[in-house]
Symmetry: none
Subunit: 213 residues, 4 copies
DNA sequence: CATGAATGAGCTTTCATTCAT
DNA sequence: CATGAATGAAAGCTCATTCAT
């Protein structure tokens, strides 16, 4: 018999190392960007060594691409767990809006890592094969809510799910992404519960007013 | 008599050096972020020397703060040049929307530098005295359009200019800021004239539907 | 009966791995020197793994020693295949000269690996037991040609085979070894067929003029 | 008056730093090759810092190129100091031979650095503008001795100075360059005074026999 | 016989910054 | 007002090698 257990244990520890490096990378990249986050700090946070990053991901860029794929994977996973009220289009859309807005609020690493990627003009995501496949589900959520509304005659036929998805994302993402400059600019702490609550309601309302007939 | 002219010439040259360093800094910070942009590259692009950055701005942080103030100054300056149609609220608001959306599109350095600042949790803008004074005018533009609309009974009384300003900014800013990841995500080049045009129209429409009574 | 065949097959595969590592090592060391050639690149070229180098050769130094022995072995093997014209000393010497000059030209790995070894002051060859036994045959070739010539009264008695061997080696080796700096220095591509041909003829002539009475 | 002294002092110290780095580089590169010699060890030996190498030479490659130029410069300088006996061609040629053979013996750094360069296929020397101009003088020495001999009818007309220069260089260079492998191969310490003396005499003799009519 | 995982030292290079004039 | 020289820390990455199965 082959020594199946030892090897399995070996691989398990290896996966653990890889995963902890990846998680640490997401945290560090989220906090300091691609340039600001150093491989040694990532390795340190993962209780591993610089060398392992090169072992598992080739180089820093490979690690960043993996981090990018992972945050997209989580985003999709979270979105897949949402179930919409199939009878009430307005409520379904509101649910979708709340999901997106809250996701951006509760996952600042998603926001900052994407900003880093956009600073680099999407150079890494274009190298990723997996990342592209993550797009459809997200739009799908909005699409199903809109389709429902169109069937019931509550949503205008000319509205496209692409525009509405962008609208929702924009309003949720920007509020989180630019919270610091906006807070200074508006003289108001945007992350205060009251401020946030007002904004969420406003977005739900704005989206429905925009799409409804 | 004092040699007043020579000193003036001296100061003029000094201002010139300072300005070219500042402009170069904005370009470099916009392209590579705060960490990615090195002082030597900035000095090189300005056809000056590293040392001059310390001479005029103290350190890299001081230069970044100055850059931040400068892009806000330009933003305000541009906004001040807009005049709204005082009779037609819908058109006035549309004009404001187009101004913002286009400003973000045409000034990517504004977007990327602000993203950098937000990555650093607004650490620099809070140290700037000038930056805070730049907030009011921008909102003022939206505010005047909304006030006009409210007077004419075309805009709902409960709508706040803060929310509408955020809505417009979000939709214009996000489209530019996240263009690379969105393009990969949606499988569509967002900066293509057609795509952009559709988006601009959609934003104008969405804003009006949101605020109108 | 013992499973003799399987073991033989096993050993054959092992020898194969060892050999491919050794050949890869010679290529890499020849191209980049001892320091420039890394064990991982050698293993990669041999379609094997770093670990195998340690398995078969102990460490990088052991591999280099083995490579050194191997190129000497080949050198000797090639020399053993030469048969000289026993009647004509001049022609015999010319044949020997051509063999050496061409060997260095056609086996640049011999030249560069030896240079590497000399850079390290012969540290490895002194550890090799086999290498020392490879010396006699090479000189023997020159020696037999000279002896023949002396018997026939065509070669001066005071000439030693050691000096002539060095002379031939020097002229053949240096031309190959220093081809790049010489080409730059002389403004002439030494490896061009014409240049090379002229040189070979010159060496044949020079050697005979030097030894003949 | 301008502060000419301070600046001069400044520049003097700077030149000193640059020179000590260059000299250290030649020693280290000579001892360990391009790859084997690390910038930190070079800086250390020069009582300076790594950073200064990049300040003065751009990168390691630039330093190596400068080192290459320097050893060629010295080689030329030494050659320029030789004066040949204008009446006696045989003695003039012997003087030239002795100069070259002894130069290679006494300047092993010239030999090993050139070997390093040839290992890298002349990639650096081709980037150097100065190096190419150093070629003519060296050949000139041989050329003048041969011309003299031809005028006096002592040297064959068909002999070219290129071939003779190569012959002399080869025999002097190879003896030094390959001393360690040759010593192991021949079972004789080549750098022992007796061995060396015999070789020098042999080369002087061989060259004259080769060129004389 | 073979291999995936891990290690620590070292590499070349770039960084923001200060010194001395 | 300006500059060349110098600095130390840290960056990303590769190295030869060993461990545990």
């Amino acid at each position: 018999m082959k020594p199946i257990k030892p090897r399995a244990a070996h691989q398990a520890r290896a996966q653990e190392t890889r995963q902890s490096l990846l998680h640490a990378a997401i945290e560090i990249f989220a906090a300091h960007g691609l340039h600001g986050g150093s491989v040694s700090r990532i390795a340190e946070r993962a209780h591993s060594h610089d060398r392992m990053i090169y072992y598992y991901f080739g180089n820093k860029e490979g690690l960043f691409i993996a981090a990018l794929e992972e945050i997209y994977r989580r985003y999709n996973e979270a979105e897949a767990s949402i179930s919409l009220d199939t009878d009430n289009p307005a409520e379904a859309l509101a649910t979708a809006v709340r999901f997106f807005v809250r996701y951006f609020r509760d996952h600042p690493e998603f926001v900052t890592v994407l900003n880093s990627e956009n600073l680099h003009r999407g150079k890494h995501i274009s190298k990723s094969l997996r990342a592209s496949q993550y797009s459809k589900p997200a739009i799908g959520l909005v699409d199903s809510a809109l389709s429902m509304g169109k069937q019931q005659g509550l949503v205008r036929e000319t509205v496209t799910s692409r525009d509405v998805y962008l609208m929702i994302s924009a309003m949720g993402y920007f509020y989180q992404s630019n919270q610091y400059t906006l807070s200074a600019f508006l003289g108001e702490k945007l992350q205060a519960p009251q401020s946030y609550q007002q904004w969420e309601s406003f977005v739900v309302d704005a989206v429905w007013r925009t799409v409804s007939s």
